[in-house]
Symmetry: C2
Subunit: 278 residues, 2 copies
């Protein structure tokens, strides 16, 4: 497993051309702007987002700053392989084949697979939102969510990112992150999603110490004013915290204290399973 905080976060991902400049695979000449073909392929994937799931060729060309002809050749190769697909209107979307390869990621679907039976039990016991998340750079990435039908509406989607210090799962993951990653995070900037988000480095440091002492975190209206989450750490065979799971409920119903034992028990269940697989 990769240590939390050491993988490239979203902040760096947004400018791959800059990061990769000068690294050219054998047999490759720099295109216009000195970008390698690999970085251009990746910039096509980067152009897609939750708000832009389908794009025309000219959208892709504009967002990647590539000439139409270059974009067309790259996109055609990606379509032939299945990384992109065309919809009925001829627009491009992320393809099923890319999802199949990505389903092999140990930190994403691998963890999810091990956790799923425990998430299902927790959902049946509470009928509230149940989440599994990991830390990637400065963000929490939601790996899975089983949603309670009548429960509170929650931010984010599976595969989406949230700032770590606001969420229950994020507070757990930060609390157990290596000290240097924690300090880097505390150096900010720390956004306040609501008036209750702890965005002061000193107070946040105290909150994280409390999480390590208690073995769980409560985010009380710190992501949105109508929601509370209770989160606990998931450990791998080497006892490192690799993920966190949580239950998210409407503020005040039920009281978060009631949720601590089932959440901690489920997280320990997943940890036990990860240890036995290793």
């Amino acid at each position: 497993m990769t240590t939390p905080g050491t993988t490239p976060g979203k902040r760096e991902d947004s400018a791959p051309a800059k990061v990769h400049r000068g690294m050219r695979p054998a047999g490759e000449l720099p295109g216009p702007g000195g970008r390698s073909v690999t970085s251009r392929v990746l910039s096509v994937l980067d152009a897609f987002s939750g708000e832009r799931r389908r794009m025309s060729l000219s959208d892709i060309s504009r967002r990647t700053a590539m000439p139409l002809t270059t974009a067309y050749r790259l996109v055609s190769e990606l379509v032939a392989w299945g990384a992109l697909e065309r919809d009925r209107d001829g627009r491009y979307q992320i393809g099923l084949r890319l999802w199949e390869v990505a389903a092999l990621a140990p930190r994403g679907p691998g963890l999810r697979e091990a956790a799923m039976p425990f998430l299902e039990d927790l959902y049946e016991a509470t009928h509230q939102h149940v989440q599994l998340a990991v830390l990637d750079g400065a963000d929490v990435v939601v790996l899975e969510r089983i949603s309670g039908r009548g429960s509170v509406g929650v931010r984010g989607r599976v595969g989406g990112r949230l700032p770590a210090h606001a969420t229950g799962v994020g507070l757990v993951l930060l609390a157990y992150a290596p000290p240097e990653a924690q300090e880097r995070y505390l150096a900010g900037p720390l956004v306040a999603l609501t008036e209750r988000t702890v965005a002061d480095p000193g107070r946040l440091r105290a909150v994280l110490a409390g999480v390590r002492r208690d073995g769980y975190a409560i985010s009380d209206r710190q992501v949105q004013l109508d929601a509370v989450s209770v989160a606990a750490p998931v450990r791998d065979a080497a006892e490192g915290v690799v993920a966190a799971l949580s239950v998210v409920v409407r503020a005040g119903d039920p009281q978060p204290g009631v949720l601590v034992p089932p959440v901690v028990a489920a997280a320990r269940g997943v940890s036990r399973r990860l240890s036995s697989r290793a």
Copy 2:
């Protein structure tokens, strides 16, 4: 949505270098063997599978038929972006960032998101395995599975492939596929997973006509001798069948007939949701 049967299936994917030969993005020279850089990037991703989730650099070099130095440069760019990650032992694995981009695929996670509440209800009603799948080339790809704790062990994993004519979801997807895709499939080869798999084109054609007449499919011990599945079609706003959902139970318990109404109702629920989103 892409029409089932028209996207490149696994059979073609395994030889991307051959398919793409001669298509070179601007500014790129062919490397040794005449392969474009894009096809080499994709061949690195192709090298990973359910049996090979972690590989050393020399494994990757061998499986992609690239010299070590070329493989190293490509892999380094993929790690910097987050498409690959290194584990504690220095081996490479599919990275979280690739999974995040892939989570934007409308045919995979997009469908899954729309279907999830209905899959959860079906799971709570039956406490058996509940599956969502799509057709890709000649295979069924499992998009989601909620697993019953005490239920029968089932083949395949989320993101994995199964031959379409053996599974309940596959029989539904084949039954509603365009006639030309159906005939291409019937032309074979048709493997028999068990002695009950319908692997004769004439008999299979009759089974598919029955599925269209009834509006659901039953795969009775045709994937494994201890399991039965009941599947129904999911339609999009244009009334095309885009996915299938199923319940998988131990053979003989409960009787499949009992499962038809809840499975059909859940599939219609997902279809209604897809129509209202369009």
